[in-house]
Structure formats: structure tokens, C-alpha cells
């Protein structure tokens, strides 16, 4: 029934925004549901079993793992962010809770974040002006929190020329602005 409700993107539009600057493409993503899932104390077995059952990957620290229907990345000890297709999993907590029961604390995070997928050749000069992480030596599937222009951001490296950034939703415009001016300066 949610379709009765007009959703707005973090940038305040009805459609996700795409910006292209030189070799870079910055695409807002609006179609991903997000939840935090944290293991309750002493529930290791039940937690792992439930995750297996509903196909929630539980990658190691600083890693992202793509799966279906769920992908996930590690955010803190015993805590992950789980990604799913928004169209099918808008109420992602309801989708996960039955499986995990008391083994996990699950919280909807979808709208706490703005997501930008950044792609393009020559990613290095852009990235090294945004974050202090040494992405060049990190493998694909690297995931970490970092700081971009004073904002706390989750960064996932999908490949040499492909990144995902999750930034605080309320500062979506500021984060996009930072990406744009930096892209211009190295394009």
C-alpha cells in the first residue's frame, strides 16, 4: 500500500539523481532497503543458523558480500548492515525478524542514509581527494566507514572503478556537492 505514499529521495526529488562529470558517474540509489542486524549476546549458533536460512551473508570485518536476496557489509563487532531490493523488501525488518527471533536485534536503516554509486575510469584521483582510506591496496568487496568532508560515510569498493557510498540522509546535498566539486577538479 506504500505506493499511495509519494516518496522523496534524500535529495528531495521524486526520481533518483544522476550526475555525470568527465569520466565520473554519480548515481543516487533509491531502490535499496537497509537494516542493521546485531547478534544478541550468546546467540552465536542461532544467529548463524538463521542467517544461513534466509540467506543473509555475514562477511568478515571490513568486508561486503553480495548475495540474493540479501547482501550485507560489516559495520561493527557482531553487527552488519543488510541490503535488499526495496521493491520486494520495503519492510525489511518484517522480512528478517521471523527468521532471527530473539537471536538478533534488527533495526530499519533504509532512510537513515543516502546512497550514491560512483563509477568511472580514473577513480583513484577522485577517491584520494575524498577519503584517507588507501583504497588502491584494498580488494574488491572492501567495506568501511570513513569521513568525507566532515560526514561519516560507509564506503564499499565493488571494483577498481566502482564504489558505493552511504552518507547521512539529512546531508545528502552536501555529500553530493562534495563529490561534484571534487570530480570537477580532477575530471
Amino acid at each position: 500500500m506504500a505506493n499511495q505514499w509519494q516518496a522523496l529521495t534524500a535529495l528531495g526529488n521524486e526520481m533518483a539523481e544522476v550526475v555525470e562529470i568527465g569520466p565520473y558517474r554519480i548515481a543516487e540509489r533509491f531502490d535499496v532497503a537497509l537494516a542493521s542486524i546485531a547478534m544478541r549476546r550468546g546467540q552465536d549458533k542461532a544467529f548463524a543458523a538463521a542467517a544461513k536460512k534466509v540467506k543473509v551473508p555475514l562477511p568478515d570485518p571490513a568486508r561486503h558480500e553480495t548475495g540474493s536476496p540479501f547482501s550485507a557489509f560489516w559495520v561493527a563487532p557482531d553487527m552488519w548492515f543488510v541490503e535488499a531490493d526495496f521493491a520486494t523488501h520495503e519492510d525489511i525488518v518484517a522480512a528478517l525478524k521471523p527468521a532471527f527471533g530473539d537471536a538478533a536485534s534488527i533495526t530499519e536503516q533504509t532512510d537513515a542514509w543516502v546512497r550514491f554509486d560512483v563509477t568511472g575510469e580514473r577513480m583513484a584521483p577522485l577517491v584520494e581527494r575524498l577519503t584517507n582510506l588507501d583504497l588502491a591496496v584494498q580488494p574488491e568487496g572492501f567495506a568501511s566507514r570513513t569521513i568525507i568532508e566532515h560526514l561519516g560515510v560507509y564506503l564499499v569498493k565493488h571494483g577498481a572503478n566502482s564504489l558505493t557510498l552511504y552518507g547521512p540522509r539529512s546531508s545528502a546535498q552536501g555529500l553530493l556537492h562534495a563529490l561534484e566539486v571534487t570530480a570537477k577538479s580532477v575530471a
Binding site: P61, A62, W74, V75, A76, P77, N132, S144, R145, T146, I147, G152
Partner: protein, 94 residues
């Protein structure tokens, strides 16, 4: 500064928030300890010129509280531990 996070490896200290002497872990029990004990716990410091065990919070990271052993004269970092492990090792539980 670079803090060698026990889980995540070397991270820039800019990602962390500093609290102070790691002795703050040893909070007295409020039901048994009195004002004197809490006063000494909260206010007095060794403040050494040399090795110092101190609490850093990885706010722009994985939200772990760390106990960092650092030389306050040279800033050399000698050891980094998860505060939760240190607290448990010092007998703290619930």
C-alpha cells in the same frame, strides 16, 4: 596519528574520539562505593609523561572503544586493545 585498530588495522586518529585515562573503566559500584571513591575515580589522574593507557572511541569507524597504550612524550603507540576485552579481563561483567 595512526591507531592500529585490533580488528581493522591502521586507521587515522581523526576517526576517533578521545576520552582519557583507561582507568575510567574501573568504575566503582554505586551501591557500595561512596563519594570519596567516586571522586578519586573520576577526578584524579596519574597523567604520566611516558606510557599512558587511554580510551579512544572509533566514532567514524566501527564504534569500538579501544584501550591504546601510547607514550605521551613521543606519541609512539605500543599497544591497542578492544576496551570490551580489557574490561572483561579486569573482571567487569554486567
Amino acid at each position: 596519528m595512526i591507531i592500529n585498530h585490533p580488528i581493522l588495522g591502521p586507521r587515522d586518529a581523526q576517526e576517533f574520539v578521545y576520552l582519557g585515562d583507561a582507568n575510567l573503566i574501573n568504575r566503582p559500584d554505586g551501591m557500595t562505593a561512596g563519594i570519596e571513591a567516586f571522586h578519586d575515580y573520576l577526578y584524579n589522574r596519574d597523567n604520566p609523561a611516558g606510557e599512558h593507557r587511554e580510551l579512544w572511541y572509533h566514532e567514524q569507524g566501527d564504534r569500538s572503544w579501544l584501550v591504546v597504550t601510547r607514550n605521551t612524550v613521543t606519541h609512539e603507540i605500543l599497544k591497542v586493545e578492544l576496551a570490551r576485552d580489557v574490561a572483561k579481563a579486569q573482571g567487569r561483567s554486567k
